[in-house]
C-alpha cells in the first residue's frame, strides 16, 4: 500500500523516464527493441503503483477486465499480418481513445451528481477528453473497417458533407461549452460523446483508403491528447506527460507524412482525393514513343552483369507477397558480386516505414535499405534500377510537369540510372491516376506480370546465367 503521494509521484516519474527512453531508443534499429522493453517496464511500474494506491478495491472486476483486454491484445498482435499493420495500429489506437472517453464519463458521474458542482479545470478536461477520445474511437474504427475492406475503401461523399460535419462538431463543442458553463446534467456529457462519435464516423468516411495512414497518425495524436486531458481530470502527471508525448509525436508524424505525399493535411482530410483526381489525368500528346516490353531472361542478364542494382519496392510487391523472393533474388545477385541496395520512398507501403517492416520480415538486413535522400545521389552510378510494383513515387512528372497532380512530390530519381526495369502487372496508372513518363523513356524496359511470378522467373533465369 502506498500512502505517501510523493512516493506515488516519484514512481510515476520513473514511468515517464522509461517512456522517454523508449522513444529515444527508437532512433536506431539496433536499440529500438530494447527501448520497447524499457517502455513495457515503465508501463508495469505505472500499473503496479496505481494498484497499490489506498482505497483500490473491486479486485475481481479488475482481474477479469484485464484478462479480457490482455487476451484481445495478445491474439490481435500475434495474428496480424505485417501487411495489415496500419489497420492494427488503428484498432489499438481506437480502443485507447474509447477508454479515455469512458474514464472522463465516469469522472463526470463521480464528481458531478448534480449541476454546477464541477470546477473549471475538471470540466474543461472532462469535456476535452470525452470529445477527442470519442472522435478517435469512432474514427479509428472506421479507418480499420476501410483498410480491412469491411467497407469500401473509396471515399464516401455526399453534397454538403463538410457543412454537415462542421454542424455536428459545432453541436458537440457547444454542448461541451454548456457543460463547462454549468449545465452539468449527465445527459449533456453523454450527448457530447454521442455527437463526437458521429463526427468521428462522418469525418473519416470521405477519406480514401490510401490516405488512411495520415488519418491514423492524426487519430493517434488525438488519443494522446485525450489521455493527457484525462490526466488533468485525475491530476495525474504520468497521464499528462505520456499523453502529450504521443500527441506531439503524432502531430509531427502527420505533418511529415503530408510532406512526403506533397499534400497539406487539410487537403487529405477534406479533399476526398480519390474523387477529385480521377478526372485529372492529363491527356497526353502522342509523340510516337512506345513502351518496350522485355523478358525475364533479358533482365537476368542485365542484372547479373551489373555492378550495382537498386531495387525500388512499392506496395504492388507487398500485395503480391513477393518480399521473400526479392530477398532471394538479391542474395543470388550478391553471390555474383553485384552490389544490391533497396531504395525506400517515405510513403512506400501503406504507411511511413511500412516497407521497411515488410522487408525486415523477409530478412532483408536493414543496412541495405536506403532512404530517399541517401539513395538519390547514387542513381547516376547505378546500372539497373529494378522498380517492383511502384509507380507514382518514381514518376518524373513530379519534378518536371507543373500541371501534374503530383508535381512537387519528392520522388526517387530512378530515371538517372543507366537502365530501368519496371515490373508491373499492366499499364494501368498508379493510385494518383496519372500516366508515367518513365515507362516511355528509351532506357526503360517493362516486365509485365504479377510481381511474385516475375521475380520467381527472374530467380530461375539468373541461376542459369
Amino acid at each position: 500500500m502506498i500512502s505517501d503521494p510523493n512516493v506515488t509521484g516519484l514512481l510515476y516519474l520513473a514511468t515517464i523516464v522509461c517512456f522517454i527512453l523508449a522513444l529515444r531508443f527508437l532512433s536506431s534499429p539496433r536499440h529500438a527493441r530494447r527501448g520497447n522493453w524499457i517502455g513495457g517496464v515503465g508501463m508495469l511500474i505505472a500499473i503496479g503503483t496505481t494498484l497499490l494506491q489506498e482505497g483500490i478495491s473491486n479486485w475481481a472486476l479488475i482481474v477479469v477486465a484485464a484478462a479480457i483486454g490482455t487476451a484481445i491484445g495478445v491474439v490481435g498482435a500475434r495474428r496480424v499480418k505485417m501487411t495489415a499493420m496500419p489497420q492494427m495500429v488503428a484498432l489499438f489506437n481506437g480502443v485507447g481513445g474509447g477508454a479515455a472517453a469512458l474514464v472522463s464519463l465516469a469522472e463526470f458521474h463521480r464528481l458531478a451528481p448534480e449541476s454546477g458542482r464541477l470546477g473549471g479545470t475538471e470540466a474543461v478536461s472532462i469535456v476535452l477528453s470525452a470529445l477527442i477520445g470519442s472522435i478517435s474511437f469512432a474514427g479509428s474504427l472506421v479507418a480499420f473497417a476501410k483498410l480491412q475492406e469491411l467497407i469500401g475503401g473509396r471515399p464516401i461523399v455526399f453534397p454538403g458533407q463538410n457543412v454537415g460535419n462542421a454542424l455536428v462538431l459545432t453541436g458537440a463543442a457547444a454542448l461541451g461549452i454548456a457543460a463547462i458553463a454549468g449545465a452539468q446534467g449527465q445527459w449533456v456529457i453523454v450527448l457530447v460523446i454521442l455527437l463526437s462519435l458521429l463526427f468521428g464516423v462522418l469525418f473519416v468516411l470521405p477519406i480514401g483508403g490510401a490516405d488512411m495512414p495520415v488519418v491514423i497518425s492524426l487519430l493517434n495524436a488525438f488519443t494522446g491528447l485525450a489521455a493527457s486531458a484525462t490526466g488533468f481530470v485525475l491530476s495525474n502527471t504520468v497521464l499528462i506527460v505520456s499523453g502529450m508525448l504521443v500527441g506531439a509525436s503524432g502531430t509531427l508524424l502527420t505533418l511529415l507524412m503530408g510532406k512526403a505525399m506533397n499534400r497539406s493535411v487539410t487537403n487529405v482530410l477534406f479533399g476526398a482525393f480519390g474523387q477529385v483526381q480521377t478526372g485529372a489525368g492529363q491527356a497526353r500528346v502522342d509523340d510516337g514513343r512506345t513502351v518496350r516490353a522485355t523478358t525475364p531472361e533479358d533482365v537476368a542478364v542485365q542484372l547479373s552483369f551489373a555492378r550495382r542494382v537498386v531495387v525500388v519496392p512499392g506496395y504492388g510487391l507487398a500485395v503480391a507477397q513477393a518480399q521473400h523472393d526479392v530477398r532471394q533474388l538479391a542474395e543470388l545477385l550478391e553471390e555474383k558480386g553485384v552490389d544490391v541496395l533497396y531504395a525506400i520512398h517515405p510513403v512506400a507501403g501503406r504507411m511511413p516505414g511500412h516497407m521497411n517492416v515488410l522487408l525486415a520480415e523477409a530478412n532483408v538486413p536493414y543496412d541495405q535499405l536506403k532512404e530517399m535522400d541517401e539513395i538519390n545521389s547514387e542513381f547516376p552510378q547505378t546500372d539497373v534500377a529494378l522498380v517492383i510494383g511502384a509507380n507514382d513515387v518514381v514518376n518524373p512528372a513530379a519534378r518536371s510537369d507543373p500541371s501534374s497532380p503530383i508535381y512537387g512530390m519528392p520522388i526517387l530519381d530512378v530515371d538517372k540510372a543507366a537502365s530501368v526495369v519496371v515490373m508491373k502487372r499492366s499499364m494501368a496508372p498508379g493510385f494518383a491516376g496519372i500516366d508515367n513518363e518513365l515507362f516511355l523513356e528509351p532506357r526503360t524496359t517493362m516486365l509485365f506480370g504479377n510481381a511474385k511470378d516475375s521475380v520467381v522467373k527472374l530467380i530461375g533465369a539468373v541461376k542459369e546465367t
Partner: protein, 105 residues
C-alpha cells in the same frame, strides 16, 4: 497529487510537447511504423485512469463504465506493446558471414 497546481501541470504539459517533438524528430523514417505503434502503446497509459475508476467504483454505472474502459485500455497496452516488439524483432543487420565472403581468397 492534488497539491499540484494547474499552472505547474500546464508547465509540464508544454515541456512535454517540446520534448515529444525533439525526441521524435530523431527517429529515422525506417522506424516510423514501429514508432506509430510504439506511441500507440504509450497512450495506453490511460489504463491508469481506467484502474483508478474501476478500483474506486462504488455504484453500478461506474463499475460498468470502468470495466469497459479497463478492457479497452488493457487491449491498447498489451496489443500495442506486442505488435511493436514483433516488428522490432525483425529488424536485423547484415549477417556476419557476409563479412567473411568479402575476404580475399
Amino acid at each position: 497529487m492534488s497539491h499540484l497546481t494547474l499552472v505547474i501541470e500546464l508547465t509540464i504539459l508544454v515541456l512535454a510537447i517540446f520534448l515529444g517533438f525533439e525526441v521524435i524528430s530523431k527517429v529515422p523514417t525506417m522506424l516510423h511504423t514501429p514508432l506509430m505503434s510504439g506511441t500507440n502503446f504509450i497512450h495506453g497509459i490511460v489504463v491508469v485512469g481506467a484502474l483508478l475508476i474501476l478500483g474506486t467504483a462504488d455504484d453500478t454505472l461506474l463499475k460498468i463504465v470502468g470495466f469497459v474502459a479497463l478492457v479497452l485500455a488493457t487491449a491498447n497496452v498489451v496489443g500495442g506493446w506486442f505488435v511493436t516488439d514483433r516488428m522490432l524483432e525483425m529488424f536485423k543487420r547484415r549477417p556476419e558471414p557476409r563479412a567473411e565472403e568479402k575476404r580475399p581468397q
